[in-house]
């Protein structure tokens, strides 16, 4: 009885893993096959600045630029904010409040992105418009800030867990040596938690990269790199917002469709590279307390 159950369990576990791996493989293959048309017919012209399906121009650089900048802004704001919040909840806040504060913060992660988008378009973009005295509040910067709020819970929760997993003996020993709380956090706990922090940031990066709905509503959706290039208070476009707006308008099998899928493939590859990088960094930095 026991033997057969464990056998079934074993196959079930193997099977589930195989299915997950197979799905990833399948998606990758489909993306490559569907974008093949664009790769062969448009080729290097994909790396141009003009997107106009009517004349057969499929330059994806503006979308790629928008995606990277929006993600960069989001991380720039969310990473320090998230890590400081996590230090507060795990090291400074009395543990009986920690649970309440943390679940409230995690609630933020459960809000559907369309809600963020609606708040973004109804209030947030207006504030940005008024504060910076802009023509329109639908900008790359607005999208970046909105995204930073959306990825904040990911960073806070994972970082908080990372700190919480550090055994108390480190804190006690450090205290015994006469270190201040600030020194304990900076010199002892942060270095120990560093690999986990990297993981948290990479996960947040992935989420920011793939977010569609909220970004689509507030970014302005114009396929153009701002001029000058650092003027992020102007409208732009990300890969996901482009896909969200235009994919239904393309006919299946056309070069237009294929070029859209190519952008999806690009996003997939960026995430893939990130995952591999993060795996390596986690491997090389074995946790100090193990």
């Amino acid at each position: 009885m026991l033997g057969s159950t464990s056998k079934i369990g074993k196959y079930y576990v193997y099977g589930s893993t195989l299915i997950s791996a197979f799905i990833v493989f399948l998606i990758f293959t489909i993306l490559i096959i569907s974008s093949w048309d664009a790769i062969t017919t448009v080729g290097l012209d994909l790396l141009k600045f003009q997107w106009n399906p009517a004349t057969g121009e499929f330059g994806i650089i503006p979308m790629l630029f928008g995606t990277l900048v929006v993600t960069f802004i989001a991380l720039l704001i969310a990473v320090p904010l998230g890590i400081y919040t996590a230090i507060f909840t795990s090291e400074i806040l009395p543990s009986k409040y920690r649970f309440i504060v943390k679940s409230l913060l995690e609630l933020l992660a459960g809000i559907p992105s369309i809600i963020f988008g609606l708040i973004g378009i109804a209030f947030f973009s207006i504030w940005v418009q008024n504060i910076f005295d802009l023509q329109s509040g639908r900008t790359i910067f607005t999208a970046g800030i909105l995204l930073s709020i959306m990825i904040l819970p990911t960073i806070i929760t994972l970082t908080d867990d990372a700190f919480h997993n550090i055994p108390d003996k480190y804190r006690e020993t450090a205290k015994g040596l006469g270190l201040y709380k600030f020194e304990i956090i900076k010199e002892i706990l942060l270095p120990i938690a560093k690999p986990d922090l990297k993981g948290a940031i990479l996960l947040a990066f992935g989420r920011a990269l793939g977010e569609t709905m909220a970004v689509m509503l507030v970014i302005g959706s114009i396929d153009r790199i701002p001029s000058p290039i650092y003027n992020w208070l102007s409208p732009g476009q990300t890969i996901t917002s482009k896909l969200g707006r235009e994919i239904a308008e393309t006919s299946f099998g056309s070069v237009h469709f294929s070029a859209m899928i190519f952008m999806g493939l690009l996003l997939f590859i960026i995430v893939l590279i990130l995952t591999i990088l993060s795996q390596n960094s986690l491997k090389s930095n074995r946790r100090l307390y193990e």
Binding site: Q135, G220, S221
Partner: protein, 277 residues
């Protein structure tokens, strides 16, 4: 344990009963045609409760594509079907049926309208979209930069507008600052700005979103009133179409007949468009 089993059986029952196919008409496409169809669908269902009518938006391009791919029964389209679209779907016979008339109106923020810019020539509007005029002061308005709002390339409103204003339905608007989708989204953006210009279906104008009058070459000024649309005086008019694949039959035919009946045409009028029958 028993209750779990009961629950599973219950869930399976639900899945099977919901699989039993209720007759449905799927409709998708232009947000200009949408107000008519969504009200008409509701009214039509009062007499045909066993029929489901599912209405989605997405723009004229979506209407044509989904009809071409056989995903929907009726496409809502507020422009002509392009030659390219026809050649993309050789197995589909697009059968457009006009259910009403509409005008595409250049619209501006009420602040600009109240500051004195109430009419422009088509050439002036084209200059704004080409990026040659960037400030309202160049047109005799307040010293404010123009926020030029464009629409997604396959939207019906854009095709019709660009055809008349720029001479090419797929013209690139170099001066555009934002690219938006539905009439709703465009309307919101214009309300939120105090120096915007955009394009909207006539039925979407209101106190905050003012329709520009068009100054014709002979100096006369044409307002986007229903009367001017009926008389074909307003330069940017169009037919609102519903498109089927081949001749409609069954429930789809009944629904289209309802739209063309005097009851259906009353809905067209109430939605702010011009009836054709």
């Amino acid at each position: 344990m028993k209750s779990t089993h009961a629950l599973i059986v219950f869930l399976i029952c639900i899945i099977f009963t919901s699989c039993e196919k209720k007759q449905a008409i799927n409709i998708a496409g232009s947000t200009s045609v949408l107000p008519i169809i969504s009200i008409a669908a509701e009214e039509f269902r009062k007499n045909n409760p066993e029929l489901n009518i599912i209405v989605n938006e997405g723009g004229s391009g979506v209407g044509v594509n989904q009809l071409g791919e056989g995903k929907i029964d009726i496409g809502m389209v507020s422009r002509d079907i392009t030659q390219e679209e026809i050649s993309t779907y050789p197995n589909v016979t697009f059968n457009p049926i006009s259910i009403g008339k509409d005008a595409v109106v250049p619209v501006i923020s009420s602040e600009i309208y109240n500051a004195g810019i109430t009419s422009l020539t088509l050439e002036e509007i084209a200059k704004i979209y080409r990026g040659e005029v960037r400030n309202w002061s160049e047109l005799g308005g307040p010293d404010k930069e123009i926020l030029v709002i464009d629409k997604e390339a396959s939207r019906g409103t854009r095709h019709v507008f660009m055809e008349i204003v720029m001479g090419d339905k797929e013209a690139i608007a170099e001066g555009a600052d934002l690219v938006l989708g539905s009439n709703n989204e465009e309307q919101t953006a214009i309300v939120q700005s105090d120096a915007a210009i955009g394009m909207l279906s006539n039925a979407w104008l209101n106190d905050n979103v003012k329709g520009l009058n068009i100054k014709m070459l002979d100096g006369s000024i044409i307002e986007s009133s229903l009367k001017n649309i009926i008389d074909n005086k307003f330069p940017i008019t169009r037919d609102l179409l519903i498109v089927t694949n081949g001749k409609p039959a069954g429930a789809v035919k009944d629904f289209i007949e309802y739209l063309l009946s005097s009851e259906g045409q009353k809905i067209v009028e109430e939605a702010g468009y011009v009836r054709i029958n």
